[in-house]
Symmetry: D3
């Protein structure tokens, strides 16, 4: 499957926390960077997310904000 979403980064799950509806997942993408994703707890279960699992971080280009120093 190919996605229109432009941004895909390889990483490894380093933390999963769930409550009734939501899950917060942390993904180590290397270089000292950790990405945080909030998805549904159902999706975290369906994808079998747990520490050490390889995942791809996907972000649509229109959801990327840029910042520069003043």
């Amino acid at each position: 499957m190919k996605l229109s979403a432009r941004n895909m980064l390889q990483g490894t799950v380093s933390d999963v926390r769930k409550d009734g509806v939501a899950a917060q997942v942390q993904i180590d993408i290397g270089g000292g960077n950790v990405i945080t994703s909030t998805i549904t707890a159902d999706s975290a279960n369906r994808l079998g997310l747990e520490n050490g699992k390889a995942v791809t971080v996907v972000v649509k280009a229109s959801d990327v904000i840029l910042a520069v120093d003043d």
Copy 2:
């Protein structure tokens, strides 16, 4: 300024393309990864985005989708 957005990656602008309303900006974040952002052309001008400029990529956790291999 501190942001609630969880994900911030340092990079360098490697390409800017603009049309009447939109701009597509590519940011080299190292490790062979390039992030693409679509913002308004006005914002690209206001931030002075051009090749080589240091920028921070900002993504809200709720905009991060995860994918796993089957």
Copy 3:
């Protein structure tokens, strides 16, 4: 590849329009419903989107707004 995004609908491309940065793609998902997606023109080219091509519409649950009649 399995995605955390909850919503996936099968359809067929019925229109593609591009300008310098953006593309607007219409997808017939049957039952008289047409979905409109805006992606980058680059992605439309990379995915080979053209009339008649089978595509999957993907939407993250947090991007779905609900409306009810008053």
Copy 4:
């Protein structure tokens, strides 16, 4: 009221689950397709969402990702 959001699908609520902040709502849009939406629990209450209620699914075109088979 007319919305700039391009995508509107008619459906019926088939499940509502709430925790302290969030609600996960499932909407049967026919043709064997179920849409999942995450909104605030407050909004689920304010709209009176419960099984069997008619709702409209609203998605902005810029939040629609497309996928094609390899």
Copy 5:
């Protein structure tokens, strides 16, 4: 129609700019604040957006980022 989206601000269109796919619309919401929205040019036409027209700005709570001074 009632929307699950939590944020609705009344305003007046103060500028509309369109290209092939996208439109950038500015909305004066009073108090010296102007909101910028990017929608499709088709939607801008369908809603009859032009200077002076009354509009409601709608934003889903999950799309609101917060910032605080250091």
Copy 6:
């Protein structure tokens, strides 16, 4: 820090509610308008959000939907 996000409104936190993963924050922006933001509970803690704290509401232009009366 300057952001590509076009919309920034000054306000004051008027309510914070948290559960395991998510936080719902209400911000009084004056003129009788209250903005609701859902962010992670971690971010609400990291930013020290509590009633009376000054915050800036940030919204990317592509996340702004417009509505007009019929």
